[in-house]
């Protein structure tokens, strides 16, 4: 079996809200699963299931209250592994005064790439996401779709081993969506891993090999896509996927996983 690229071990996250921090929200409860290398892993669940919190904990944007996260084989406390990860935020806010080229240069430097590496990658990346002719334009003039393309280029700037995409197709037109699919398929063929957080069954069905479904901060399913849809094919069709997910999205939250797949 391929080595796990990400491993969550009994991860819990509790937020204390309010002025006196008395209101408690359990965003994650005892989450444990592994993501093997070279696959496209789907992270699904209804709103407020804890998907984004899990992604943030993985990327050290927030810290888990309990449990351990191993990222590329090392504890998540070690930030060095973040240099090999790309992240596309669900609704990113960019410095609007930067041009597309300056934007990638800036984020490339923050990914600890050398000036030369960044200079080599920027034209290729802009070409890949179809923004080469807008490289010198200020981001402020970009449409939402163009910003999504640029955000994708930002996530790819360090040619990451692991790509984390949080709602990547939100606001994307058909051609941008097709482009994203092509990029993910190509990277998968190169043996690279992607974690996809999405509400789009079409994207999940077309892209993912393996899934984890969260509800109420708990894993309610972890397994291969085919196990969920009950199909022999890896590529699940939207209807059967939706049908399979419906009871998980609506059903009661139990103390432990209720649909455990073989992949765990």
């Amino acid at each position: 079996m391929t080595r796990p690229i990400v491993e969550f071990q009994n991860v819990s996250k509790t937020y204390h809200l309010g002025l006196l921090r008395r209101r408690t929200i359990h965003a994650l409860r005892d989450v444990s699963f592994k993501v093997r290398g070279g696959c496209v892993f789907g992270l699904l669940g209804p709103n407020r299931a804890g998907k984004t919190t899990l992604v943030k904990a993985l990327l050290s944007i927030c810290r888990p209250t309990a449990g351990t996260i191993l990222r590329l084989g090392r504890d998540a406390a070690y930030r060095g592994t973040l240099a090999r990860i790309g992240y596309l935020h669900e609704s990113p806010a960019f410095p609007r005064y930067l041009t597309a080229r300056a934007f990638l240069d800036y984020y490339g430097a923050l990914s600890l790439l050398t000036r030369r590496e960044v200079a080599m990658r920027i034209p290729r990346l802009l070409d890949e996401v179809g923004l080469n002719d807008r490289a010198g334009e200020a981001i402020a003039a970009f449409s939402k779709g163009m910003l999504q393309r640029l955000a994708l280029a930002q996530a790819l700037v360090n040619d990451p081993e692991l790509l984390v995409l949080d709602e990547p197709t939100e606001g994307m037109d058909l051609s941008a969506r097709k482009l994203l699919h092509e990029i993910i398929h190509r990277r998968k063929a190169e043996g690279k891993t992607a974690i996809l957080v999405s509400h789009s069954m079409a994207d999940v069905g077309r892209l993912c090999d393996e899934l984890a479904v969260l509800r109420g901060g708990q894993v309610v399913f972890h397994g291969m896509l085919a196990e969920l849809t009950g199909q022999a094919s890896q590529e699940g069709d939207v209807d059967s996927l939706q049908e399979a997910l419906e009871p998980m999205y609506a059903g009661p939250v139990h103390a432990g996983p209720i649909y455990a797949g073989a992949a765990s």
Binding site: I61, R63, L82, I85, Y97, L98, L110, L112
Partner: protein, 332 residues
Amino acid sequence: MNPRTLLPVIFRLVKDTFRQSMASGICWLLMGLSTICILGCLSASVNGPQSLAAAGENADFLPRFDREAQDAHKLKQSGVTVADGTLSLAFGAVRVAVARDVRATVHFFQLILAAGVADTLGLLLTLIWTAGFLPGFLAPQAVAVLLAKPVPRWGLLAGKYIGVLAFVLAQAVYFVGGTWLALALRTGVWDAAYLLSIPLLLLQFAVFFGFSLLLAVCFRSTVVCVFGSIAFWGICWAINFGRHAVMAAEAMAPCGKFSTLLVRLADISYWILPKPVDLGCLAFDALGAQTHFRPILEHNGGLSLGLSVLTSLLFTVYVLIAAARQFAKMDY
């Protein structure tokens, strides 16, 4: 993370701050105000005796209101030697009588520019205008992608802080350097003491922007940063000035007018907090404008400008460490 890896990141964050300041118009606004002052200096000229002081003598040019100069004619008639100089502004449209020699008049003019325009008005305006830089940078949607990068959190904060300081340094160099050059060209007084205002301005700003940084990390609100840092500056200024006033009053007439508790409290607060008045005194000192007030305090061990700078810096370092620690443990 080793410094060799971190330095290019800091450099990009500094560059980004300059871009941000240009895009927001703050850079051009401050440069515009500085240019007006520089043009004002270019329109100024000073007539009067070259020097009234003997060699090695410090000619104190305070008090600021030259009643003696206005009465120069009467004084001359009564046989008193009067330095009847003139400071003219706007190419002679405005003429002010001064009882100083040329050098002291230029120093007086520079003191107004350093302590009044730059150190008070400039500092407050810059604090207000740059207060939005950090909350914008730390907004959850903007910072989440940055936090997913391998740069340590304190490195991001340090880069932005240094970026704003570099921007203020550039503005201070333009303002002080420009006005100094303009006055020197017009008056022939090339004393470089005024240039000391550049590091002093930067130090003052670094102290109060450090506090603004802590507020930005804790509250992520521009309004809190603006009002918080201005209120903090006001408190520090009042404590600094109040403590010196109490000390001076006690030294001149030790009649126990102030309770021991009040004196002790003022003293403790003074030593803990930054000292904007003392830092301003350094500019007075450099321009030779301080021979009345300071000795009274110095003779009583109440003032040491070196210690004032050191303790203000220590406070800033403490605030920056607190901000970095808070930022390191925050969830976004």
